[in-house]
């Protein structure tokens, strides 16, 4: 086929996709229903048999000399490579049965991929009929698949052996539908709960909940599968619901026959909420005050009081600064000098202190232009991607990951295999950033961020054509002259954009519960569904209702009973890690841990590049040279897994315990230097405090609770004979700082 014809074919295809109104011209393959269509019938065979998967011919370089586009994103190219690339090789028009395509697929000749189907199978018959008809290409508009549906989206089995067949129906652009179950592929997210076979038959396996998926064309759709544990002995305790969060979580738990834990006690609540809201443990004074308070609403009052502080705003601002990779250097090409970093960090802090709605906060950064030392928010375009030049593709990928929780970059080279995003979505999105440029500013090392009107939109490699700026999932480009980022900001942060609201709500939820409703929080996709869809929906709708007001939204989370559950499990919830049925043990973030050690011991810790007294949560790297990470910043941060800001990935922050962490706590300088010297213990001894009282004081300082009677007795025995020796109390203090109760939020 000559080049022109190929282009026009593709153009027809694209138009057909964009607006399905184009009428089919005379179509040889559509005219005769006996002749399979390449796009509608033959390509699905490639898909179903796995020929165009990433490990086979769908690999970017093909396999053993034959390449297909991954999961069929490029039909015209696939036709050309199958039929025309080496005429007569893969398709044998005179003896169709001898076509290499068929011989390979049936392993009649050696085939690395083995035998895929039998000559009797319908898949084989489809290919054979098509070749017998002369292996025609489609002409005119072939109806496009515009979506698929599963016959059931929620399956509940009362026992593990339950079975249910699922059907996949494809919906076409001409309004027709077709049962494509036999041409679809299936997978389960957790086969230990439920499996799904190649025919779409779901079989329960073990108790729990998961999702199974059907894939056809470029679409993936899921169905939830629940395998219930036995009903005998299960009594739903019907715990009181403080707000919509409790109702949604408890509905889910009741359905899954999981009994949530009890409410946590006051001292646990106080420590948990203080750490989560202001990034430090409660002071002994706060502890005494809260425990003495007899107001039945004291928890709600405490939440209000903490949320109202600047400490709350500053902590949230610091988390955003980490997410946006704020790092200051002194290398001018990168436009990330310390002054610019400070300006952005201060701007973020100011927005949170003055309750700027989150959507406006993001919107202002998104549309920002101007000099980056004078104008904080414009540094989104210097910090998110630390590069000497603006890289539109990286920027698009990171922007989408941070603000939408979507990893769009998979669609750079192929339609996202497990999500709804296409290459058109990707390149259209990249075009929001193709004109973002930097030029020298007024001040030394200052850069001015501006939109270059002479810039061109991104080019899709499928057809070599430009894709003007277009929001994700939209059909038409935003169609503005010049800088399209204003339109991006509008779409992104509008209350109608569920993706944005869900992402923000989910990230905030994850901060307080230790796990997102979608986890990881920055990988939202069809095949990674929420563990409780109504909850995610409820949270995001509530965030919108509250006009993206962070303080109000956090107040609702903290006031929910779900947030205040104990970590002590019930017989039915001990194994649950996804449904928020009990509090999770969460190792403190590296910076919060360091701040906690400083707060509890009363001895400050200096951080490189910052004035004495700076809190670790507010630290961001200030380095000499370029800022292109990773920058752990301080050995303590490195050991305890603080984000190095090397990427925007949420996984940069690590909370796995390791042996190195323990070694550091046991013998490293952080605790060692804070036990001796003028210490808490010495002060207590010098004021002639009674041993019981010293022990109690140390417990309250470190764990925000009094020792139990048994502990008081244990430690009386422990110090027996050494009552006036500071070392013995230092050793108890050491034990407290090394305890799981101190190192974790529980």
């Amino acid at each position: 086929m000559n080049k022109m014809k190929r282009c026009s074919m593709l153009a027809i295809l694209c138009i057909g996709f964009l607006c399905s109104s184009l009428q089919a011209q005379d179509s040889q393959s559509r005219g005769d229903p006996q002749i399979p269509s390449f796009r509608k019938d033959v390509m699905p065979v490639f898909f179903r048999a796995g020929c165009n998967s990433g490990t086979c011919h769908g690999s970017a370089r093909g396999k053993d000399g034959f390449m297909l586009s991954l999961f069929g994103y490029d039909p015209a190219g696939d036709y050309r490579r199958t039929v025309e690339e080496i005429p007569g090789r893969r398709i044998n028009g005179s003896v169709p049965e001898e076509s290499l395509l068929l011989l390979k697929a049936t392993a009649s000749v050696p085939h690395t991929g083995g035998k895929l189907f039998d000559p009797k199978s319908p898949l084989y018959q489809t290919l054979l009929k098509w070749i017998e008809a002369g292996a025609p290409d489609d002409s005119g508009a072939v109806p496009e698949v515009i979506g698929i549906t599963l016959s059931n989206t929620s399956v509940v089995f009362d026992q593990p052996s339950g079975q249910l067949p699922l059907q996949v129906t494809a919906n076409y652009s001409d309004g027709s539908t077709r049962d494509v179950t036999s041409l679809s592929r299936f997978f389960s997210n957790n086969p230990s709960v439920a499996q799904i076979d190649a025919q779409g038959l779901v079989t329960g396996h073990g108790f729990g909940d998961t999702n199974v998926f059907g894939r056809y064309s470029r679409f993936t759709v899921g169905a939830e599968v629940i395998v219930l544990p036995p009903a005998d002995g299960f009594i739903w305790p019907d715990p009181p619901a403080n707000n919509f969060i409790d109702r949604l979580v408890f509905q889910r738990l009741e359905k899954l026959r999981i009994v949530p834990s009890d409410l946590c006690d006051d001292q646990t609540f106080l420590r948990r909420v203080t750490l989560d809201l202001v990034g430090r443990p409660p002071t002994p004074l706060e502890y005494e005050g809260f425990m003495a308070d007899e107001d039945p609403d004291k928890r709600a009052s405490k939440i209000d009081a903490l949320i109202a502080t600047d400490d709350f705003a500053d902590y949230q601002a610091a988390l955003w600064a980490e997410q946006l990779r704020v790092i200051g250097g002194n290398y001018s090409t990168g436009a990330t000098v310390i002054k610019a970093a400070d300006r952005l960090a201060n701007w973020i802090r100011d927005q949170f202190r003055k309750d700027r709605p989150l959507n406006e906060f993001v919107s202002e950064m998104t549309a920002a232009s101007g000099p980056n030392i004078a104008n904080g928010p414009v540094n989104l375009y210097t910090m998110l991607v630390h590069k000497p030049q603006v890289d539109p593709k990286m920027l698009a990928a990171d922007f989408s990951q941070v603000f939408l929780g979507v990893q769009i970059q998979c669609a750079e080279c192929h339609n996202h295999p497990f999500d709804r995003w296409t290459m058109d979505d990707y390149y259209g999105f990249v075009s929001f950033f193709t004109g973002v440029r930097r030029k020298p500013g007024v001040e030394a090392r200052e850069k001015r961020i501006f939109w270059d009107d002479k810039s061109n939109p991104a080019i899709s490699p499928v057809d070599g054509r430009a894709r003007p700026a277009k929001t994700l999932g939209a059909i038409d480009p935003v169609g503005v002259q010049g800088d399209p980022r204003g339109e991006l900001a509008k779409w992104l942060t509008s209350p109608e954009n569920d993706i944005f609201a869900e992402n923000i709500a989910n990230r905030i939820w994850a901060h307080f519960l230790g796990r997102g409703v979608v986890e990881p929080v920055d990988d939202m996709r069809v095949s990674n569904p929420p563990t409780n869809a109504p909850l995610l929906d409820g949270l995001s709708k509530r965030l919108v209702e509250l006009r993206f007001d962070l303080r109000s939204f956090v107040r609702e989370i903290c006031n929910s009973r779900v947030y205040q559950l104990a970590s002590k499990p019930t017989p039915t919830n001990a194994k649950d890690t996804r449904q928020f049925s009990h509090a999770k043990l969460r190792r403190l973030r590296a910076d919060v841990l360091l701040d906690s050690i400083v707060a509890v011991t009363g001895i400050p810790r200096n951080l490189p590049g910052w004035p004495a007294g700076t809190k670790a949560v507010h630290y961001y790297p200030r380095v000499s040279g370029d800022t292109e990470g990773p920058h752990p910043g301080d050995p303590f941060f490195e050991t305890f897994g603080r984000s190095t800001r090397g990427t925007v990935c949420a996984c940069e922050t690590k909370s796995d315990p390791t042996l190195s962490q323990t070694m550091h706590l046991v013998v490293g300088d952080t605790i060692r230097e804070r036990l001796s010297s003028p210490s808490v213990v010495k002060a207590l001894l010098e004021s002639h405090t009674q041993p019981e009282k010293i022990i109690e004081t140390l417990f309250v300082r470190a764990l925000s609770r009094k020792p139990t009677d048994k502990e008081q007795m244990d430690f009386r025995n422990f110090i027996s004979g050494n009552e006036s020796n500071p070392e013995i109390y230092e050793d108890i203090f050491w034990g407290l700082l090394n305890s799981t109760e101190f190192l974790f939020n529980h």
Binding site: T647, C651, T658, T662
Partner: protein, 473 residues
């Protein structure tokens, strides 16, 4: 881009544009899934330990029966970036110049040839096992390094444990030291504990032995003024405090993991043997010389001098750790992503490597450790046969070389042959998975065994692995 004159553990890898980003991102992503799956793994462990006691907590299926354990320990020297096979163990002197590359050849003691970058190694070839036909999967640093360390290419759903984590899990410690140690740090692209708990992860010693005799592992000895009695007392205080959270039955596996770390910390801090293993105490000058401690690269550093590369010191520490019972020590060396000027890349790093390989093998042999220790020189892939327009070579995973010594592998063997330009195996190709399977076999681990991830999902240590018996003595 030029490989920089730095060690890969310290640099931003220089070779490929996307190396740092997407792939690092993938590596990081995998890390995060690890944290997630820890919880799921924990869950299972609770169940399993309730079912069948502590042993085999993650074993879905019992091994076929005990295998003899030939390999007690492994020293894995990873040459990250893609080690050029033409310039090392698979030279092609008869190929056209654009394939042959800039170096000559040297005869080996077992009657074959190596590149003339490796004269010392060639002399001890009778002790070595060279595979010239290793077949990987992906010519991408992040994915291939993960593949090398775990036997699987990364997926979005399951994070697989690396060999070190599997050894820790299956075999446990041999003596006081942690079973899996990274000198000085773990390769950022390699897998970690995957779906196994983080307690099976690598202990990173942090400080680099290349710092020479001043080398001291951070946070690794009891501080001055803290007696053993006092240290015991502190641990006792901690245990008294742990009783309460224990009694609440909250996440027992997390508590077990923390307790395990405190027990390990106690053990290494109070053991003179462990303390000695992390130092150069008693090593003679002759040993340093044998490993080539003073041998420099042939490329001038920015200060206009030639510098030794510190590999000798790292390998001496590795040998000491192995002697003290560590099962797997991993070391990274060099920056081999030679897209530009493959000659400079080799000149910079190969001479110290040549000395270090021959030094370590000779030393293990004379100490009687070569039989029970496997020295394994790895890279995530090799390099393309044809020299590119920048006088460099690009990524090539379909056929590359690896060097092994000891551990029951057949000494003096050159296994397999590549085609005339080292593009594809001409005979006896060895899939990476099969080599891993064979190494597990030597360790006494049946790699068909299934471990359990995600609740009850069984996953083979190596999927469909085969024993390459031709490699074994």
């Amino acid at each position: 881009m030029l490989p920089r004159n730095q060690d890969r553990s310290q640099i931003k890898p220089s070779g490929c544009q996307d190396f740092r980003r997407l792939n690092r991102r993938v590596a990081m992503r995998v890390g995060s899934l690890g944290a997630l799956s820890l919880c799921l793994g924990d869950l299972l462990r609770m169940r399993a330990s309730a079912d069948d006691g502590q042993t085999g907590a993650y074993s879905a299926q019992k091994a076929k029966g005990p295998l003899p354990q030939r390999i007690k320990s492994i020293i894995q020297l990873n040459l990250g970036g893609g080690f050029p096979q033409h310039e090392s163990f698979d030279p092609k002197p008869e190929a056209p110049l654009e394939y042959r590359g800039p170096f000559g050849v040297v005869k080996t003691s077992n009657g074959d040839i190596f590149s003339d970058n490796f004269p010392k190694t060639a002399q001890i070839a009778k002790k070595l096992t060279v595979i010239r036909t290793l077949v990987g999967k992906v010519p991408d640093h992040g994915l291939a390094t993960y593949h090398l360390s775990t036997g699987y290419t990364p997926t979005a759903v399951i994070d697989y444990p690396s060999m070190g984590a599997i050894l820790s899990h299956e075999l446990g410690p041999r003596g006081i030291l942690p079973p899996f140690i990274a000198v000085p740090k773990r390769n950022a692209f390699a897998g970690n504990t995957g779906f196994l708990p983080s307690s099976y992860g690598a202990f990173e010693i942090g400080d680099d032995p290349a710092n020479g005799k001043n080398f001291k592992v951070r946070d690794f000895s009891l501080p001055q003024g803290i007696s053993l009695d006092r240290f015991n007392r502190r641990n006792a205080a901690r245990e008294l405090i742990e009783n309460r959270i224990r009694s609440m039955e909250t996440e027992p596996t997390t508590l077990d993991t923390m307790d395990g770390f405190y027990k390990k910390a106690y053990a290494v801090l109070t053991s003179p043997e462990a303390q000695r293993a992390f130092s150069f105490e008693g090593e003679s000058d002759e040993t340093f010389e044998l490993y080539g401690a003073k041998v420099t690269g042939k490329v001038l550093a920015p200060d206009n001098k030639y510098h030794p590369k510190g590999l000798a010191e790292r390998l001496i520490i590795a040998r000491r750790l192995v002697e003290a019972g560590t099962r797997l020590v991993t070391i990274d060396y060099g920056a081999w992503d030679c897209h530009v000027d493959v000659k400079k890349c080799c000149d910079d790093y190969m001479q110290p490597l040549d000395y270090a390989i021959s030094g370590l093998v000779t030393d293990l042999d004379r100490r009687g450790l070569l039989d029970s220790t496997l020295f394994w020189v790895t890279s995530e892939f090799g390099r393309t046969p044809k020299i590119n327009k920048d006088s460099g070579r690009d990524h090539h995973a379909r056929c590359y070389s690896m060097l092994l010594a000891g551990g029951g592998f057949q000494q003096g063997l050159i296994h397999g042959a590549s085609d005339s330009v080292a593009n594809e195996p001409a005979r006896d190709g060895v899939l990476l998975e099969d080599l891993l399977y064979t190494i597990y076999h030597g360790l006494g681990i049946d790699a068909d065994k299934e471990l359990v991830a995600f609740g009850t999902r069984p996953i083979e240590i190596i999927k469909d692995g085969k024993l390459v018996s031709a490699l074994l003595a």
